[in-house]
């Protein structure tokens, strides 16, 4: 397999918005994409720094998201605050293993996967590693894709709270934890967005 040629060598710059490969020489000082007029950079500046910042924010948010209750239910049979893990365990114990698994994937597995994946990408990019460059690009696409699905939990709480309003018989209210969880999802998406996957292919010459 012949080594891939870098855009730098070819004198090209890719517009990340419309995907147009622009000749570096044709770029003006303002560095606008000739097609979509969006700012065009050879590499997104401070991409790793911003990704890291968002990632750390996500991890920090993830702690209260799990410790604090996400939902408060009250009804004839008493009232309860449920955390994410508590809810999963409750479903698991009551035999609804499928629902438990779904919530587990959406609210535990996916965020953790994202943290690990982005962390891995940052680490390897920082080292300009040549290891599994293709796989890491795929990983980045996956992270971008699964980001939306983490919102499942937030939607569940939002729907339950909206629908379960039977006053005495039973009410459900969102609690602070879900806001933090929402924060986790948003921040990790931002983190993934600020990452410039082209950095994966950069290597020290």
């Amino acid at each position: 397999m012949t080594p891939l040629r870098q855009s730098l060598e070819l004198g090209l710059v890719l517009c990340r918005t419309c995907g147009l490969a622009v000749s570096r020489a044709s770029l003006k000082v303002d560095q606008r994409c000739p097609r979509c007029q969006s700012r065009i950079e050879h590499r997104t500046p401070f991409s790793t720094e911003m990704t890291l910042a968002w990632l750390i924010a996500g991890i920090v948010f993830y702690i209260p998201a799990n410790l604090l209750p996400v939902m408060h239910t009250s009804g004839l049979l008493g009232e309860a605050d449920s955390t994410i893990i508590g809810g999963i365990l409750e479903f698991w114990r009551s035999g609804d293993w499928d629902i438990a698994l779904l919530i587990f994937i959406a609210s535990v597995a996916v965020p953790l996967t994202k943290f690990i994946a982005i962390g891995l990408l940052l680490l390897t990019v920082g080292k300009s590693s040549r290891w599994q460059q293709h796989q890491r690009t795929v990983l980045y696409r996956v992270v971008e894709f699964i980001g939306y699905w983490s919102m499942l939990d937030v939607i569940v709480v939002a729907l339950t709270s909206a629908l379960m309003q039977f006053q005495v018989l039973g009410t459900a209210e969102p609690r602070a934890g879900i806001a933090f969880f929402c924060g986790v999802v948003v921040v990790t998406m931002l983190s993934a967005l600020s990452f410039d996957p082209r950095l994966i292919w950069d290597q020290r010459v």
Partner: protein, 552 residues
């Protein structure tokens, strides 16, 4: 496309741009810092808000669920159960609970916890809401100054959950009767409180703690007497049947009542405030204070069936004590088994007599009292079992003066005092009947019957002779008598000449007698008429005068 021109252009382009936008990526770091600040502040707030964790031990953990069972104070949730486990010796259930921060001040050394379950008693139904919601743990704060984190839970809810205003009183009684916690306390048949605790003291007596609610605790004075109002009080007195009860609930669940004690108690009032004696019934409670009991002993020569401990001892008809024990003794000298009765008497119950005696100094000490009893024995004081009721055969001891009883020895130095006895009236009656029966047995009945038989035979002969000889002559006599009576009847008839003559004679003599009386009257008024003869009447004031004119 050549790579040669690119490096310089690439060097040129980024440099100014990067410098200009350097603050934006730096700004991004605000986000994780803000997140960290929020997270840390949340943790600090959580940690600050985290109330104490307490451990309560119960004998049973029925219905207590981790995370679901709540701790409630005045029906407000102050915490929840965070763990349920067994103690190391497996004897108790340890319930751990997280309380909210503001509940920490409620945790005193004597704070009480109990599991609220549905309870249905005679007096009340409680905790029905827990049928649906599951049990919860009730809490009542204490008054102690020390705070505590480990508690021993109550198995039954306290009768008073949340310190209402009022007064707590301790009642001492020999036995609690059928009192339950929560049993009502009445003042003049008005419920003013309830029993909140019952304890068996180490000496075997019971202590009942009652709570009297605030406006009514003023009725409790040092002279107040408490009594057990359980059950129905039926009295058959001279004024008819009298049934008294405080309330139906008191009949079923037991209850207490109190009222002011007798006047005498006013002077004897004392003792620890808030501590009272619980009397068995109203009569006992309202009796004047008894003072210290004195024990007396009596030996009865014959059996005393129907005499039981608790039977009254009466002195000249006044109840002054009760029998404590009925024992069988043995006398070696005559190999007999006397019945030894021990009784306690309260001289103070003699009322005015006791006061009079006390004024004379007879009650100063045991010795003077014993000496005084000695003089009474000389005057004929004897103990006698008597039948209280013909129906029940129950006996009581009567101390009475029986001067006719034989002289008895009395030793004033023996303790307890030993009173001479006489046999009971009923027993004496029995003995008398026995003697009578013996006498009847001793009668020569057969001989009497034989004699009677001969006598009757003689009588029969006499009668037959009478029949044959006397009766015919008697018949003649009777017919003669009949005739005589007939003639007498004719003679005495109204139409007979004799009768008529007699009537005339009688009317003659009546007018004669009237004339004589008038003459006597006249002479009485005018005694001079005997000498001067009769004068015509002219005095108008005498109404009798004109009528007497017509007469001679």
């Amino acid at each position: 496309m050549s790579a040669a021109p690119t490096p310089p252009s690439e060097e040129e382009i980024p440099t100014p741009v990067v410098q200009n936008r350097r603050w934006i990526p730096r700004l991004v770091w605000v986000v994780p810092i803000a997140a960290a600040v929020i997270g840390i502040s949340l943790l600090i707030r959580n940690w600050e808000n985290a109330g104490p964790r307490i451990t309560i031990s119960f004998l049973r953990g029925e219905g207590v669920q981790v995370g679901k069972t709540l701790i409630k104070y005045r029906d407000v949730t102050v915490g929840h159960v965070s763990a349920v486990g067994l103690s190391a010796d497996h004897q108790t259930v340890l319930v751990s609970a997280d309380l909210s921060k503001d509940a920490a001040s409620l945790l005193k050394a004597d704070t009480q916890f109990w599991v609220v379950r549905p309870r249905i008693g005679v007096g009340s139904v409680s905790g029905l809401d827990t049928l649906l919601t599951g049990v919860y743990i009730g809490m009542k704060t204490g008054a102690a100054t020390l705070s505590e984190r480990d508690f021993v839970g109550l198995e039954d809810p306290p009768a008073l959950s949340h310190g209402p205003r009022g007064r707590e009183l301790q009642l001492h009684a020999a036995r609690a009767g059928s009192l339950a916690i929560g049993a009502p306390v009445y003042f003049r048949q008005f419920q003013v409180g309830r029993v909140i605790d019952e304890n068996l003291l180490p000496d075997g007596s019971t202590r009942v703690t009652v709570f009297v609610d605030a406006p009514y605790d003023g009725f409790v004075k040092p002279v107040t007497r408490f009594w057990n109002a359980s059950g129905i009080d039926v009295k058959l007195g001279a004024d008819g049947l009298n049934v008294q009860t405080e309330s139906l609930a008191a009949v079923l669940a037991g209850g207490l009542a109190f009222d002011d004690g007798p006047i005498e108690a006013l002077f004897a009032a004392g003792g620890t405030p808030g501590e009272f004696t619980l009397y068995r019934n109203e009569t006992e409670a309202m009796a004047p204070p008894d003072g210290d009991p004195h024990y007396i002993r009596m030996r009865f020569a014959q059996g005393l069936r129907g005499l039981e401990a608790g039977a009254p001892v009466e002195f000249v008809g006044v109840n002054i004590g009760s029998v404590v024990a009925v024992d069988l003794g043995y006398e070696h000298q005559d190999r007999s088994f006397p019945v030894i009765v021990t009784a306690k008497v309260y001289p103070r119950r003699m009322g005015q007599a006791f006061e009079a005696l006390a004024a004379q100094g007879k009650t100063e000490s045991e010795e003077t009292l014993a000496a005084f009893v000695g003089t009474l024995v000389k005057r004929g004081l004897r103990a006698q079992p008597r039948s209280g009721s013909l129906l029940t055969e129950k006996l009581y001891i009567a101390l009475d003066f029986l001067p006719a009883s034989p002289r008895a020895a009395f030793d004033a130095s023996i303790r307890p005092l030993e009173l001479p006895t006489v046999n009971g009236t009923f027993q004496e009656l029995e003995a008398n009947i026995g003697r009578l029966v013996t006498k009847v047995n001793d009668l020569p009945l057969e001989q009497i019957a034989a004699d009677l038989h001969t006598d009757l035979k003689d009588l029969h002969e006499t009668l037959s002779e009478l029949h044959s000889r006397v009766l015919p002559s008697a018949e003649d006599t009777l017919s003669a008598l009949h005739r005589t009576l007939d003639s007498a009847d004719q003679t005495l008839d109204v139409q007979s000449p004799l009768q008529r003559g007699l009537t005339e004679t009688l009317s003659e003599s009546r007018s004669t007698l009237q004339a004589v009386r008038e003459l006597a009257d006249y002479l009485d008024r005018h005694p001079d008429a005997l000498l001067r003869g009769r004068r015509p009447q002219k005095m108008p004031e005498s109404p009798a005068a004109p009528s007497s004119d017509a007469k001679p």
